[in-house]
């Protein structure tokens, strides 16, 4: 479980997080929704001790992050928003191997772990490619593989759907579904439509948690979203106005609509 207790953080004198308190349960798919500059990425960087709170504390599986960040980094894997920030090795293999190598894996075991992670993101066959030769979407998928290769208990994605094409988005949705219940997954986004697959969502704005609730409670509240400069996804708008539960996928939406229409 992840627990944030009254977390404050500021860059120089600019306060970015203003007393964030949250609890994220094991196996939950948790969304962090907020407009640009809400503090989402800063909050995410606190989850494995990359940034340290000026006040308050972050606890992951009972470990206070500030006291033992190295241990927490084995548990929490973060996929950064821009893959160019995440991929620092000349070759795909080296980058994906970086995390598991630091976990102590060597030889065949390391190679298998890398291959497995690349397979999960549909990038098998790319391990000997140079990172600079990849397209942005491919880099994003490899960036996800770099974290999957560490097999963390908690997966954190910062704006994961940004700049992904249809195939990339589909792959990511399937990946989230594959790990649902097995791992804790945290997704941050300023686009509400991508958070329909979450179990719970926290709305963040101005460095504060505005509201935590189910997708129906957060995404179904058009006024709340508009008040915080967020788009209301058309599908969500339609289902909320019909008084129906928000579907997690198009397939689910089709099934629900069929039921209503027939």
């Amino acid at each position: 479980m992840i627990e944030l207790v009254n977390v404050h953080f500021s860059y120089n004198n600019r306060e970015v997080l203003r007393g964030i308190s949250l609890k994220i349960n094991d196996g939950e798919v948790f969304g962090i929704l907020g407009p640009n500059g809400a503090g989402k990425s800063t909050l995410i960087m606190h989850l494995n001790g990359i940034l340290k709170p000026k006040m308050g504390k972050v606890i992951v599986n009972g470990i206070e992050v500030n006291k033992n960040p190295k241990e927490v980094r084995k548990i929490v894997g973060i996929v950064f928003q821009d893959p160019n920030d995440q991929l620092f090795s000349p070759k795909v293999f080296d980058d994906v191997a970086f995390g598991p190598y630091n976990l102590g894996l060597r030889g065949r075991e390391l190679e298998e772990r890398v291959e497995k992670a690349l397979r999960l993101v549909g990038m098998e066959g790319y391990k000997n490619r140079e990172t600079k030769e990849l397209s942005f979407g491919e880099k994003k998928r490899v960036a996800i593989a770099t974290v999957l290769a560490m097999e963390p208990e908690i997966l954190v994605f910062d704006e994961p759907f940004a700049n992904l094409d249809f195939r990339g988005k589909k792959m990511l949705r399937e990946l989230i579904e594959k790990f649902r219940g097995e791992k804790t997954i945290i997704l941050s986004s300023h686009e509400a439509e991508y958070l329909t697959l979450c179990d719970r969502i926290a709305l963040l704005d101005g460095g504060k948690v505005i509201k935590v609730g189910s997708p129906e409670e957060i995404l179904g509240n058009a006024d709340l979203l508009r008040e915080h400069n967020l788009d209301v996804p058309p599908l969500v708008d339609l289902f909320s106005s019909l008084g129906l539960e928000i579907p997690k996928s198009i397939e689910e939406a089709k099934r629900k609509l069929k039921k209503v229409l027939i």
Partner: protein
């Protein structure tokens, strides 16, 4: 056998920089040619070597003005016979030694050089720094191009002085952005348990011919 290119480059460069005359340097030219023929690098190599020659020529240009017997007078000063000799020697040493690295990395790929460095137990921090430099030079170039295009697309109706002022600011901005990126990269590394750098797993080509090149270099000594 697999880690001999780097050793070859090292011995070859060491032999070159310790030469004291142009005639001695001349003997190394066939070694470089042999290396090019053996490794069959991409065509772009010759363009890279041309740039390298030009860049190194500029670096040593002041050597042309070494005091001595005048050859030609230029607005910058008098080019002397001794100056030309000194310039040629410096340029020859710099070009011959650095071009070997360019030939090997161009044909085998820079990751190959990194893999060899790791096998030869070069300090990890050095290998890591070179790996980053290689990876991020391309990103740096991309970012520069993007910013230059953005400048050019809006830099109409401005004078040359104003344009170069903006270009200067752009270069400053590129460095600031590079710094910001380096911070984020460090975060990414920390997130994945940074402490050690993974071994570069690379299929290595053991070529006995490298031994011949080393022997040839030693013989030239």
């Amino acid at each position: 056998m697999s880690d001999l290119y780097l050793i070859f480059i090292f011995i070859y460069a060491l032999l070159i920089v310790t030469r004291t005359s142009l005639v001695e340097l001349f003997y190394f030219l066939p070694v470089l040619m042999a290396l090019i023929l053996l490794l069959k690098p991409k065509r772009a190599l010759f363009k890279h070597l041309g740039f390298l020659l030009g860049f190194e020529g500029l670096l040593f240009i002041l050597a042309l003005f070494t005091p001595g017997k005048p050859v030609v007078t230029t607005p910058l000063g008098v080019i002397t016979y001794e100056g030309i000799q000194r310039f040629s020697l410096l340029l020859g040493k710099a070009f011959l030694s650095s071009s070997a690295v360019v030939v090997v990395s161009n044909s085998l790929g820079f990751p190959y050089i990194l893999a060899e460095m790791e096998t030869l137990r070069f300090p990890r921090i050095l290998v890591l720094t070179l790996a980053f430099t290689y990876r991020y030079l391309e990103l740096f170039e991309e970012e520069t191009l993007r910013m230059k295009r953005a400048l050019d697309s809006r830099a109409f109706n401005i004078g040359k002085i104003e344009y170069y002022k903006k270009l200067g600011m752009l270069i400053g901005e590129i460095f600031a952005r590079a710094y910001m990126r380096s911070v984020r990269i460090h975060w990414a590394m920390l997130s994945r348990g940074f402490g050690e750098f993974p071994k570069v797993v690379e299929e290595k080509r053991g070529e006995p011919i490298v031994l011949t090149l080393i022997a040839l270099g030693v013989a030239l000594l």
